[in-house]
């Protein structure tokens, strides 16, 4: 008898069999997997009584209603507010990650700061609020006493709502006309509305009821308009309630979800719209009732001097027949004709414009005019499923500012950007022109700059020129809550509360078809020593005294807001919004406030001739083809916030690795073009445009037209936190600003570029 190796093997087998027959392995696997799902070191919200606060998301101009779930004093989750008129319970990824803008302490400014290092370096010293206010007040008094009041200017995210209006009022009382807003498609839309209908109003789209959407590159599910509302509209269309035709050079997510994607040579969208109009007119498919009775300038007409002027009909029939447009746009003649026919045959067709999210640039006026004209031809102006004009909410009725002599004098000075002057009579703000003016002039037209709710150093085209212009401004005051690129450039920062810590009214979300005001409410008490910007303005006014102080007769911002909203306040407090759901758009008899009381294809007396408003020209791209053979265009994504707010960590996590790999951004290029350049997937390349250069990696994508390359907006931050900063390239460093010949607004949509192997 001998115990040998086999006995031990057998013992092992016995153990294995016994173990398999016992619960041990199975239970261990289960427990370990549960443990890995719920790492004990993962922060878990406290358990306790839940309470909710209704508020409004301000992270984009969408105006969604949110409900913030709290446990005790800790906000734990942002949810979409059920039954809200804009987003009815939905919320986007950025909105959902909103708490990281609140508790992401690395990105926040915690106290007033004074710059000690170089501009842009981000070295600051903490100061108290008293010190900060008195420093800014002293600076403002000094500038004012030298007769330079008009040299104080302000860049604001928008001019809507009480906070923006308080800033504007401050400048007025102080004596400066130089208030600016960041560019967006609304500038061009509102101008088109003014030129065709003679009204100052917001444009709205009755997307819930349209059944055929012709989109000229609008990122319907990528953040255009009010994003969540658009997702919901898009879902309805996909359930068979409507068709979407997407026209753009790149297979975006919107294009992929559309019923038909028509790739187009970028920059020729206006020509296509006019081509479609010519088919509609030639085949006599337009809405005769509207065009014959309520429109002016369709047929040729005689001006005051008795001279015959060409009308829209002759203009498009002669200049934009489908053959010619096919050549310009690269789209088949037959496609153009059949698209025009299906557009008119739909019962509620709607044409929309503003590329991508429509937020980074104002766009070419002729494009918006041509798209508007298509809507007019099918008679959907102010009709169900069509384009509406919504009066701007008139709830801000403050007494007129009483001005002292300095203010009277200052306010009469011409604006730096010449907006509203004879050269740019219809535009209100032309911030895009300012860097050029600052960089070319000898004198400094801006002595003090306020920046609120905007990140111009990051978000305006041609970062280098913008920085150069900022360098010329002796004193920059930042009001941001976050240490973003522009805040880093400021000389002093008076930080605002984050949106979840403050009151603010958010009127009229982009494109929404009812008069609407959303209310942002403090969800939790301020985490740091910040102040509501409204209160900061009051403190500055008080410091300056005199008529400036008198212009702000309120104790604090909350009182001001309550008084301003007066009878609407109760509904705002209770529901988080106020809506005038009874509003119906004006009927055709009363809708048009133009000289002719009609919809004007040619704004009589306002435009030189019809060609100046609609005419397509191909020379809108910076750079020469010989040195820069490719065309670089931007694209927007719901996963990359690209304006005032930078992506919080959760959203960054969602960026695909075909967009960002490690720290490198990928540029989309057609495989055919890549082959010609000898490039392959993932390879490094040097991207050069007339404005800047960047190192990128190549992503071969069949969904982009040959010869076109695309980069996302929203990357390449040099500020915020380690999750966002230092990753990819800021598109604005590569693109210049191109001025629209009629409006003067920024009309940049792309730039010539060269890609070489690195």
């Amino acid at each position: 008898m001998k115990i040998d190796r086999r006995s031990f093997l057998s013992l092992g087998m016995g153990v294995a069999a016994g173990t398999a027959l016992s619960p041990l392995p199975w239970k261990l696997i289960d427990d370990i997997s549960i443990w890995t799902q719920m790492w004990p070191w993962t922060p878990v919200p406290e358990i306790g009584e839940v309470n909710y606060v209704n508020s409004t998301c301000t992270l984009c101009p969408g105006g969604c209603g949110i409900t913030v779930r709290k446990i005790g004093d800790r906000a734990v989750k942002v949810e979409g507010k059920e039954g809200h008129p804009i987003n009815s319970g939905g919320v986007c990824l950025l909105g959902l990650s909103g708490l990281q803008n609140l508790y992401g302490y690395d990105r926040r400014i915690k106290t007033p700061l004074k710059r000690i290092g170089n501009r842009g370096q981000g070295s600051f010293q903490k100061i108290t609020w008293d010190e900060a206010i008195s420093e800014v007040v002293n600076k403002l008094s000094e500038v004012r006493s030298t007769g330079q009041a008009h040299a104080v200017s302000c860049i604001s995210g928008s001019d809507q709502g009480t906070v923006a209006q308080l800033l504007k009022r401050f400048l007025t009382a102080y004596g400066s006309p130089n208030f600016f807003t960041m560019p967006s498609m609304q500038d061009s839309y509102e101008l088109a509305l003014y030129l065709t209908q003679g009204i100052q109003a917001s444009v709205a789209f009755d997307v819930e009821n349209s059944d055929f959407v012709l989109s000229f590159g609008s990122g319907i599910v990528e953040g255009w308009g009010s994003p969540v509302r658009m997702f919901q509209a898009s879902s309805r269309w996909r359930e068979g309630k409507g068709k979407v035709v997407q026209i753009e050079p790149r297979l975006s997510i919107t294009a992929a979800k559309s019923d038909k994607w028509i790739p187009i040579k970028p920059g020729t969208e206006a020509a296509l719209a006019l081509g479609l109009a010519s088919v509609i007119i030639k085949e006599s498919l337009y809405d005769k009732e509207f065009v014959e009775n309520y429109a002016f300038g369709f047929e040729n007409w005689k001006d005051d001097a008795g001279k015959t002027q060409i009308g829209f009909k002759q203009f498009v029939l002669e200049g934009y027949g489908p053959d010619k447009v096919a050549k310009i746009t690269g789209i088949d003649k037959s496609t153009i004709i059949s698209l025009a026919r299906s557009f008119v045959r739909a019962s509620k067709p709607l044409a929309i414009g503003g590329r991508n999210q429509g937020r980074s640039t104002s766009g070419r006026l002729n494009e918006f005019m041509a798209i508007y004209a298509l809507n007019a031809l099918v008679g959907n102006i102010n009709k169900t499923g069509g384009v509406w004009s919504i009066p701007k909410p008139g709830y801000i009725k403050w007494p007129k500012v009483e001005m002292d002599d300095v203010a009277e004098k200052g306010i009469k000075e011409p604006r730096i950007d010449a907006a509203g002057s004879a050269s740019y009579p219809y535009s209100q703000y032309l911030l895009n022109r300012v860097p050029g003016i600052l960089n070319s002039g000898q004198e400094n037209p801006i002595q003090v700059l306020f920046v609120a709710g905007a990140n111009p150093i990051y978000a305006l085209p041609n970062t280098k020129a913008v920085k150069e212009a900022f360098d010329k401004i002796p004193y920059i005051v930042g009001f941001s809550s976050y240490l973003d690129e522009t805040a880093k450039y400021a000389d002093i920062i008076l930080p605002n509360h984050v949106y979840l810590e403050r009151y603010e009214d958010i009127p009229t979300p982009v494109g929404f078809q009812k008069p609407f005001i959303g209310l942002a409410k403090p969800v939790i008490a301020p985490q740091f020593e910040t102040k509501n910007l409204g209160d900061t303005i009051f403190l500055l006014a008080k410091g300056l005294g005199g008529t400036i102080e008198k212009a702000f007769p309120w104790d604090d911002y909350e009182t001001c807001l309550k008084e301003t909203l007066s009878e609407k306040w109760d509904s705002l407090e209770e529901n988080g919004y106020w809506i005038d759901s009874s509003l119906k758009p004006a009927d055709w008899k009363n809708a048009f406030k133009t000289a002719s009381k009609k919809f004007e294809f040619i704004a009589a007396g306002k435009a030189k001739d019809i060609a100046s408003l609609f005419g397509f020209s191909s020379s809108t791209l910076e750079g020469d083809e010989a040195s820069y053979p490719l065309v670089l265009i931007p694209y927007d994504s719901m996963r990359l916030a690209n304006g005032f707010i930078g992506d919080p960590p959760f959203v960054m996590k969602a960026v695909e690795d075909t967009v960002l790999k490690g720290k490198d951004v990928l540029i989309e290029i057609n495989p055919e073009t890549a082959k010609q350049l000898g490039m392959s997937e993932g390879g490094f390349a040097k991207l050069a445009t007339p404005v800047g250069t960047a190192k990128v990696r190549v992503h071969l994508y069949d969904g982009i037209m040959p010869g076109i390359i695309a980069l996302p907006r929203g990357l390449g931050h040099t500020a915020y936190d380690k999750f966002l900063g230092g990753k990819g390239v800021n598109f604005n460093e590569l693109i210049g600003s191109v001025e629209d010949p009629v409006s003067g607004l920024d009309a940049t949509w792309g730039i010539r570029a060269k890609l070489t192997k690195a």
Binding site: K2, S10, G14, A17, G18, S22, P23, L24, I34
Partner: protein, 219 residues
């Protein structure tokens, strides 16, 4: 018999012995691991903790008139209050009322100090689970006991057994180490929730997938 034969027989005897050992060792291994797996492992896997106060449910249920809900109530907003907070107990236990040393301990150590009792919750689900009491007890009219068992009839708080790896109470994974259950309340894992959900056709259409909904509980 030749020598050769002898050797053969010898070898055969040895072979038999070795085989015997092989079988024996197999059986030893088998039984040892079965004992480890079925008896030692389960007792090692769970740490045993006593509740800070030994609570008598029977006594309390007699004293109140709305059953479980007198203390474990649904808040106005529909959320569930869970284990009572000190504030609820203080109404009666401002002073020591009875003879029970556990009550005296409660009053002296917690009420007098204004300190919450760190109760160990047998039925605490992981944080990734969304569970609404109100939908189950009010809308679906289920009894508390369906999931919690006859805890209202207990005179003493049972030992809280905590899984050393996952950190959860044994009541979630199930008393029986093999995972067998006799009663609905024996185990409260995902399959147990979904078993009942499938049977009762609870929200089987997820908005995202149009199939059975993960998002009913994980959201």
């Amino acid at each position: 018999m030749s020598k050769l034969d002898d050797k053969k027989t010898d070898q055969k005897g040895q072979e038999d012995g070795v085989r015997g050992f092989i079988i024996l060792f197999f059986i030893i291994g088998l039984f040892a691991s079965l004992i480890v797996g079925w008896m030692i492992f389960p007792s090692l896997l769970y740490s045993k903790k006593k509740q800070p106060i030994d609570f008598n449910h029977v006594l309390h249920v007699e004293a109140v008139d709305q059953g479980c809900e007198s203390c474990h109530y649904i808040r106005e907003d529909g959320s569930f209050s869970g284990v009572p907070k000190l504030a609820q107990c203080v109404d009666c236990h401002e002073e020591v009322q009875g003879e029970d040393p556990e009550e005296a301990k409660f009053v002296n150590e917690y009420v007098a100090e204004g300190k919450e009792v760190p109760w160990l919750v047998y039925s605490r689900q992981p944080d990734c689970v969304f569970f609404s009491h109100v939908t189950h007890t009010k809308m679906a009219e289920m009894d508390c006991a369906t999931c919690h068992g006859a805890i209202g009839e207990s005179e003493h708080s049972k030992i809280y057994e905590q899984n050393r790896i996952s950190g959860y109470s044994r009541d979630i994974w199930g008393k029986n180490i093999a995972g067998f259950k006799k009663n609905t309340w024996d185990r409260m894992k995902m399959d147990d929730c979904s078993e009942c959900h499938v049977k009762n056709h609870v929200r089987q259409a997820s908005v995202q997938t149009k199939k059975g909904g993960c998002f009913v509980c994980h959201k």
